[in-house]
């Protein structure tokens, strides 16, 4: 197990720059997710860490060791593909034993370690099955066992849950998280699913067009996105355009069409006030207040999803618990806390 350092990593495919001057430090034992829309370069980054793509520029270190020039078979990695990529012609047992056999471990040791890891992933009785005789979830666990049994330096997961149905996917998130903690293995997890990233990751690295937009814990990325793109990508957000009128300590007062709002931040000029839909409340208990009319209401099971138009024509998304329902056409009072609103530069939308 080791830390991973990516330094100035760049990969071009013809005229397209898939990954551009990427710097990232992944700590020992950490699980980091590379999160972004398709084509953002997250899989290319993972494949470079694995050695399946050679970077055009930059360096990759596992701990102190530069692996930039090493082929995958000499990097000591474990990888799980979206397709699982199990060897269809080998039984579960042989799939898992493969990596140990490649390392010329003595057979008694192999038997013991394969048995131990199959037990760990709850597949003990299925060693004699072929992959096509297993369910998707079982194949997934074989792939994990196969990747982990060799004690690799790093574990790479490329959208490993994308082929599972919704319910199983949900369970497997926690399962993988637990497994990763038990092994304490440095893990890079590629996904385009933000909730998956939030459940799993110690830190999330949000990527867009081959560049890291923001790296941080889920709370940071959700609560304080660097820019409007990240705010949009991770969850829903309202953007109210305005101008900073004055600054008070770490707060700013922003003049908008809907009124004056106190927000978190320390920038001047043209800004957007960002407020998450669930941070807007149907009351006037909080310092920032505005009035509006409910235009639309959708029931989502655990909450109501409203479109509210403020008196100055600003459209807002509001999510509130279903104990109180406001019908379309109702005039409402909304308020939010300065801590739940932050400002970003306007040019970034």
């Amino acid at each position: 197990m080791s830390s991973i350092t990516l330094h100035g990593l760049t990969k071009r495919f013809g005229l397209v720059t898939a990954v551009n001057q990427l710097d990232l430090e992944i700590r020992e034992g950490e699980l980091i997710t590379l999160l972004g829309p398709s084509g953002c370069g997250k899989t290319t980054t993972l494949r470079m860490i694995g050695g399946f793509e050679i970077p055009d520029e930059g360096e990759i270190y596992f701990g102190e060791r530069s692996v930039t020039a090493l082929p995958p078979e000499r990097r000591n990695i474990g990888i799980v593909f979206q397709s699982y990529a199990l060897f269809p012609h080998m039984t579960v047992w042989h799939n898992v034993a493969f990596g140990l056999q490649m390392r010329r471990e003595p057979p008694p040791g192999i038997r013991q370690r394969v048995a131990a890891i199959l037990d760990k992933v709850q597949l003990s009785g299925l060693g004699g099955r072929f992959p096509n005789q297993l369910s998707g979830g079982q194949q997934q666990r074989v792939a994990l066992a196969r990747a982990l049994v060799t004690n690799p330096a790093v574990l790479l997961l490329d959208e490993p849950l994308a082929n599972l149905d919704a319910k199983l996917r949900e369970e497997m998130r926690f399962y993988i998280r637990q497994l990763q903690r038990d092994f304490g293995i440095t893990t890079v997890y590629v996904t385009h699913d933000q909730s998956e990233a939030m459940v799993l990751a110690d830190r999330i690295a949000v990527m867009r067009d081959g560049v890291l937009e923001q790296v941080g814990r889920a709370e940071e990325i959700y609560g304080r996105p660097n820019n409007a793109w990240v705010a949009e990508f991770i969850g829903l957000s309202n953007f109210i355009p305005g101008t900073v009128a004055r600054r008070i300590d770490s707060r700013v007062v922003v003049q908008t069409k809907a009124g004056e709002f106190t927000c978190t931040g320390n920038i001047d000029g043209s800004v957007f006030v960002c407020v998450r839909p669930e941070a807007l409340h149907f009351d006037d208990n909080r310092p920032n207040r505005l009035t509006g009319v409910v235009r639309e209401r959708v029931f989502l099971g655990n909450l109501f999803d409203y479109r509210v138009e403020s008196s100055n024509g600003i459209r807002l998304r509001v999510q509130a618990d279903p104990s109180r329902a406001f019908s379309p056409g109702t005039s409402v009072q909304l308020s939010f806390d300065p801590a739940d609103a932050w400002v970003i530069r306007a040019e970034q939308v």
């Binding site: 995958p72 593909f81 490649m102 196969r146």
Partner: protein, 298 residues
Amino acid sequence: MAGVQAAVTERPRVAAPRRFPWVQVLIVPTLLFLLVFFAVPYLNMVRMSFLLKPAEGPYLPQFTLANYARALFDPFNWKILRNTFWYSILTTVITLVLGYPIAYHLTQATPKRKRWLLVLIISPLLVSVVVRGFAWLILLGRVGLVNQFMQWAAGTELILIGTPEGIVVGLVHVFIPFMALSIAGSLQNISPDVVQAARSLGAGPWQRFWRVIWPLSLPGVLAGSVLVFVLAVSSYVIPIMLGASNVLVMPMLIVQTLLDTFNWPLGSALSMIFFGLTATILAVYLKLMGRSMRWTAP
């Protein structure tokens, strides 16, 4: 049984009324064709192999095992059978060894190169086997290119026309496309992820080939080798041209018996024995291969 029927009739009829299966009618002409031009003549041959050959005329409608006795107790026939199978197995093995790299190259090529390679592989099939046999006669003949080179390089003659080796050279050339295309079909199905997974687990190029790619290509190897073996065993034109009547194989012997010596019952019996042995060899081969391909079973 009665109970089942009662249960069935009690069920309300919700299914759509059964329509006449018109689509299945489409296969009738093919079946008729096969019946008239394949099944009936074949069965007739089976029958003929048990009929008596008189001194005059083709056969008498009288049951006998004499044809089989004569065919089986003649050591000459066994020699020809053994040779035929040996040349065919040799041809199959050589096409496999030569065809596999072609197939592998084909699957690794870029789409544009792949088109050209396919044209190159298939183009020999556009030329008649007779023409290709003739071309080999010219190449391998006493004053052909190969011999001229051998005399210049080694000072010796390399006689291939009229030898089993010459026949195998011709057969390999004719059948390589079948082998290469069969194997390419299998190689194409191997997911690149699987090979990369092997790499991630520490497998070098040899290990990746022998532990992953080769076993996964076995269905194509099986299809290709069965195809080539069957074609080689029954080949007639290439052996007759390149064997230069020095080398005899089973199809030639059967034709000679049927047409030259005009012994239809004996020719039929030889055909049946030949067919039986070919089928047996294939059955053993399939059985052996099946053991290494347990994973393909559902």
